[in-house]
C-alpha cells in the first residue's frame, strides 16, 4: 500500500485559497488575487499529476489491475451505529482521471481568466469563487462515500450558482443562476432520497463497500418492491436523477443553456468540462451496483443519455447564440457518456462502455473547454454572443481560429484526433448492446459535425461583417491555455484508457472496429460537408432548409418549448396553484380562525358587558330574579 495522504492537499489548497482570497481579496490589487489563485491551483495540478503518474505507473509496476485506495478518512458526523458521514479521499482510476481533468481545465481557466476578467468589478470575487468551485469539485471526485459526494455535490451547485450569477446586476444572470440552482436542487432531492433508500437498506454510505461485488448493495435480495422494480433499482434511479440534474440530462437540462449567462471561463470550467460531468462520474462511481445489482436502472441511464444527446443535437443546429450552441453540444456529448455507461456491462470487454464513457469524458473535457475558451476569446473580441454579429473573423483572430478548428474537428470525430477514439468506443459498445441506441448515436454524430461546423463557419467565414472597432487577438495569457488545450484535444486520444480506466480495474484488449468507425467518420464528413455548403459563404440555403422543416425548425429553435413548460410548472403550478393558495389559506383560514376566536371572545364580552350597564335597577332586577330562581331551583325543583 502506498501512501496517498497528500492527495488531501489537492482539494484543501483551493479551499484555503477561497478563504484567503474571499476575506482579503478586496484589499489587494486585482491581479494579485488572480495570480495567487492560479499559482495555488497550479500546485494542486502538479500534485494531481504526481498522483496520476504514481497511481497508474510508478506504484503499479508488477501488479495487475488497479485497486481503490482510501488515502485518508475521518469521521465528520456520526449518524447511527452503522452510518457515519466520513470525509476522505478515495484513489481509484476514475477519481485520478477526474483529478487530472479538473485540475488541468481549472488551471487553464484560471490562467485564461487573468486576461479575460481584466478590469471587471469583483475580480477577486471571481477567483475566490473559482477556488471554491475547484475545492468542491475535487472533494466530490475524491469522495470515499456517497454522502461526502452529496455534500460536495451541493457545494458544487452553490459555486455554480455563484458563478453564473457573477454579474449580479444583470437580471438575466440572476434569473439564470436561480434557475440552475433550483433545477439541480430538485434533482438533488432525488439524489438524497436515493441515498436514504440505499443507506437504509444497505447500512452503509461507503463506496468501497457498496461497489464491492460481495457488498450489501449488490447482494441485497431483489424482488419487486414498487411498480415492478426492486428497492435497489428505485434507489439507483433516484440517485441517477441527481446525476441527470447536474449533467443536464433531458428533461432536467433547462438550466444549462441559461447558465451561459455566467462569464465564459466559468462556462468552460463548470458547464462544459467538470461539473456537468459529475452525473456521469456519479454513475461511474456506483457502476458495479448499477451493472450487477440493477440492470434496469442502467437501461434508464442509457435511454436518458440517448434521448438527451439527440434532443440537444437537434436544438444545437438552430441556435444562434454561440455559447448556447456549445451548451447544447455539451448536453449532447454528456448524453453520449451516459449512454456509454448505460450500455456497458461489468468486467472485461463487457465493460467497454464504461471505459468509453470515461474516455469520452476525458477527451470531451479537453475539447469542450477549448471550444468555450475560444468562444470566450471571440466574445472578448466582438462583444457579442450572437453568431449573426460575426463572420470572417479568421483574419483577425488567427490563434483562436486555429484552436477552434482543431476542437471542431475533434468533436466531429475525425481521426486521429481524440474525439474520434472515444466516440468510436462508445459506438462499439452501443452496437453490442442496443441497435436503436446505436442508430441514434450515428445520427447524432452527423448532427454534431453539422452544427459544430455551422458554428465554425458562421464565426470565422461567412459574410464579412463590419465591426465598430477592429477585433484583435486576445493576449497571450488567454491564447496559451487555448494552445495547451488544443494539444490535449489532439493527443488525448492516444492514452491507453482500456488499460487504465476499466469497470473492474483489470485491463482488457480493445481495438478499433473499422466496420463501425468508417461509417461514423463518413457521417461526420457528411455533416461537415453540409455545413460547408450552407455556411462557408453566405447564401440562402439555411433559410430554405429551415423552410423545409417548417414547424420542426420552429420547435427546435424554441428548444421544444421546454422552458415554457417549466415556466408553466413553476409560475402557474407552484406559485399560482400551491403557494398563493397556501398563503391565502394561512392568512384567511388558519389565521382567520384564530382571529375568529378572538372576535368571538370580543363579541361575547361586548354582549356580557351589556349587563354592566351602570343602571342600578337593572342590576337589582337581575339580582332579584336570580335569587328567586335559585330559591325555586334549590328549594322546590331540586328535591334533595
Amino acid at each position: 500500500m502506498v501512501d496517498y495522504t497528500y492527495t488531501l492537499l489537492i482539494p484543501l489548497i483551493p479551499f484555503l485559497l477561497f478563504i484567503f482570497i474571499g476575506l482579503t481579496g478586496h484589499k489587494m490589487k486585482p491581479i494579485v488575487s488572480g495570480l495567487i489563485g492560479t499559482s495555488g491551483l497550479a500546485i494542486a495540478a502538479i500534485l494531481s499529476y504526481i498522483t496520476a503518474i504514481r497511481y497508474f505507473w510508478t506504484d503499479h509496476i508488477g501488479v495487475i489491475g488497479y485497486k481503490s485506495i482510501k488515502a485518508f478518512e475521518i469521521t465528520w458526523l456520526h449518524l447511527t451505529d452503522k452510518l457515519t458521514i466520513n470525509i476522505g479521499a478515495l484513489i481509484d482510476p476514475i477519481s485520478v482521471m477526474m483529478l487530472i481533468v479538473i485540475t488541468t481545465v481549472s488551471l487553464m481557466v484560471h490562467i485564461y481568466s487573468i486576461g479575460y476578467m481584466k478590469g471587471e468589478r469583483g475580480y477577486h470575487r471571481f477567483f475566490a469563487f473559482l477556488s471554491l468551485f475547484s475545492f468542491s469539485m475535487l472533494g466530490l471526485v475524491l469522495a470515499t462515500n456517497i454522502f461526502q459526494m452529496y455534500i460536495f455535490w451541493e457545494l458544487v451547485g452553490v459555486s455554480s450558482f455563484l458563478l453564473i450569477g457573477f454579474y449580479y446586476e444583470k437580471p438575466s444572470a440572476v434569473a439564470a443562476s436561480k434557475k440552475a440552482f433550483i433545477v439541480t436542487r430538485f434533482a438533488d432531492l432525488g439524489f438524497l432520497i436515493g441515498i436514504l433508500i440505499l443507506s437504509f437498506n444497505t447500512g452503509t454510505f461507503d463506496f468501497q463497500l457498496l461497489t464491492s461485488p460481495t457488498g450489501p448493495a449488490i447482494t441485497m435480495p431483489g424482488g419487486a418492491a414498487f411498480m415492478g422494480m426492486s428497492v435497489l433499482t428505485w434507489s439507483l434511479i433516484f440517485i441517477f436523477m441527481g446525476g441527470a440534474g447536474k449533467s443536464a440530462m433531458f428533461p432536467l437540462h433547462v438550466w444549462l443553456p441559461d447558465a451561459m449567462e455566467g462569464p465564459t471561463p466559468v462556462s468552460a470550467l463548470i458547464h462544459a468540462a467538470t461539473m456537468v460531468v459529475a452525473g456521469v462520474y456519479l454513475v461511474a462511481r456506483l457502476f458495479p451496483v448499477y451493472a450487477l445489482g440493477a440492470p434496469d436502472a442502467l437501461t434508464v441511464v442509457a435511454w436518458v443519455g440517448g434521448i438527451s444527446s439527440l434532443f440537444a443535437a437537434i436544438i444545437a443546429c438552430t441556435q444562434t447564440d454561440i455559447k448556447r450552441v456549445l451548451a447544447y453540444s455539451t448536453m449532447s456529448q454528456i448524453g453520449y457518456m451516459m449512454l456509454a455507461l448505460g450500455v456497458s456491462g461489468y468486467g472485461g470487454h463487457d465493460g467497454l462502455g464504461f471505459m468509453a464513457g470515461n474516455f469520452h469524458l476525458f477527451t470531451h473535457a479537453m475539447f469542450k473547454a477549448l471550444l468555450f475558451l475560444g468562444a470566450g476569446a471571440i466574445i472578448h473580441a466582438v462583444h457579442s454572443n450572437d453568431m449573426k454579429d460575426m463572420g470572417g473573423l479568421r483574419k483577425y483572430l488567427p490563434i483562436t481560429h486555429a484552436t477552434f478548428l482543431i476542437a471542431c474537428i475533434t468533436i466531429a470525430g475525425i481521426p486521429p484526433l481524440s474525439g474520434f477514439w472515444s466516440k468510436d468506443e462508445i459506438m462499439v459498445a452501443a452496437w453490442h448492446h442496443n441497435k436503436i441506441l446505436f442508430s441514434i448515436e450515428y445520427l447524432v454524430a452527423g448532427l454534431t459535425a453539422f452544427y459544430m461546423f455551422r458554428l465554425y463557419f458562421s464565426i470565422f467565414w461567412g459574410k464579412a461583417t463590419h465591426y465598430h472597432h477592429t477585433p484583435h487577438e486576445a493576449p497571450y495569457v488567454m491564447t496559451i491555455p487555448l494552445m495547451i488545450l488544443a494539444f490535449g484535444a489532439v493527443f488525448a486520444g492516444f492514452l491507453p484508457f482500456h488499460a487504465l480506466v476499466t469497470s473492474d480495474g483489470m485491463p482488457f484488449e480493445s481495438h478499433l472496429d473499422w466496420s463501425i468507425a468508417i461509417p461514423s467518420v463518413l457521417i461526420a464528413l457528411l455533416g461537415i460537408g453540409g455545413a460547408t455548403a450552407m455556411y462557408m459563404k453566405a447564401n440562402g440555403l439555411p433559410d430554405k432548409l429551415a423552410g423545409v422543416f417548417g414547424n420542426g425548425y420552429k420547435w427546435a429553435y424554441h428548444k421544444f418549448y421546454m422552458d415554457e413548460v417549466y415556466l408553466f410548472v413553476t409560475k402557474k403550478i407552484i406559485f399560482r396553484f400551491i403557494s398563493q393558495p397556501v398563503a391565502w389559506f394561512d392568512r384567511h383560514i388558519v389565521d382567520g380562525f384564530m382571529n375568529l376566536v378572538a372576535r368571538t371572545v370580543d363579541n361575547t364580552s361586548n354582549l356580557i358587558k351589556g349587563f354592566q350597564s351602570g343602571r342600578l335597577q337593572q342590576y337589582g332586577y337581575v339580582f332579584v330574579s336570580g335569587a328567586i330562581a335559585l330559591v325555586l331551583i334549590f328549594v322546590y325543583l331540586w328535591n334533595f
Partner: protein
C-alpha cells in the same frame, strides 16, 4: 280579640301605605306614607311587647330618617314635581318577578310548621336592654354595640365628607364603612 283587630288594622295600614309609598308620584307624599308604615311597624313592636324597640323605631326611624329624607327631598326637587315612573315594561317585569318571589316566599312560610316556644319570655325593659348592651358575657352585646358605635362615627364623618361642597365639584372619595 282586641289584639287581633289591632293587628289586622296595622297590617292593613302597613300594606296600604307601603304600596302607596312605592307608587305615589309625589315624593313628599311618598315620604309621609313611609312615615305611616314605620309608625305602624312601631306599633307592631308594641304589640310584641318590645317597647324599647318600638320607641327606638319611632325616634330613629320615624323621627330621624324620615325627616332626613324629607329634607333631602326638599333639597333636590320641587314639591309639585311629579316623579317619573318606570315604563310599562319595566313595571310589568318587576311586578312579575316580585309577584313570583312573594308567591314563593308565602308558599314556603305557609308550608312550614312553626313550633312556638312555650318558654317564659325574657323581659325587654330599658334596664334589660341596657344591661345586655354593656354585658360581655353570654347573651351580652358589648362588642356589636361598640362596633356599631364606630360605624356610626364613620358614617357621620363619611357623610360629611361626601356631602361637603368641593371647590372643583369633583367627588373626592366615598367613605363607606
Amino acid at each position: 280579640m282586641n289584639s287581633e283587630i289591632m293587628f289586622y288594622l296595622l297590617a292593613g295600614m302597613i300594606l296600604v301605605f307601603s304600596v302607596l309609598t312605592v307608587t305615589s308620584r309625589k315624593i313628599l307624599r311618598a315620604a309621609v306614607y313611609l312615615l305611616f308604615v314605620l309608625i305602624s311597624t312601631a306599633a307592631i313592636y308594641f304589640m310584641l311587647e318590645y317597647t324599647f324597640l318600638a320607641a327606638v323605631q319611632l325616634t330613629v326611624y320615624a323621627g330621624g330618617i324620615v325627616v332626613l329624607i324629607i329634607f333631602s327631598v326638599l333639597l333636590t326637587s320641587h314639591i309639585s314635581e311629579k316623579a317619573i315612573m318606570a315604563d310599562r315594561k319595566q313595571s310589568l317585569l318587576s311586578a312579575l318577578a316580585v309577584g313570583a318571589g312573594a308567591l314563593l316566599t308565602l308558599l314556603t312560610i305557609l308550608r312550614f310548621t312553626f313550633v312556638p316556644s312555650a318558654l317564659p319570655a325574657q323581659t325587654s325593659t330599658v334596664t334589660d336592654v341596657g344591661n345586655a348592651l354593656i354585658s360581655y358575657e353570654r347573651d351580652g352585646f358589648a362588642l356589636p354595640f361598640e362596633v356599631i358605635s364606630i360605624l356610626l362615627l364613620a358614617a357621620l364623618i363619611g357623610a360629611i365628607i361626601v356631602a361637603r361642597k368641593e371647590k372643583d365639584g369633583i367627588i373626592a372619595t366615598k367613605e363607606k364603612k
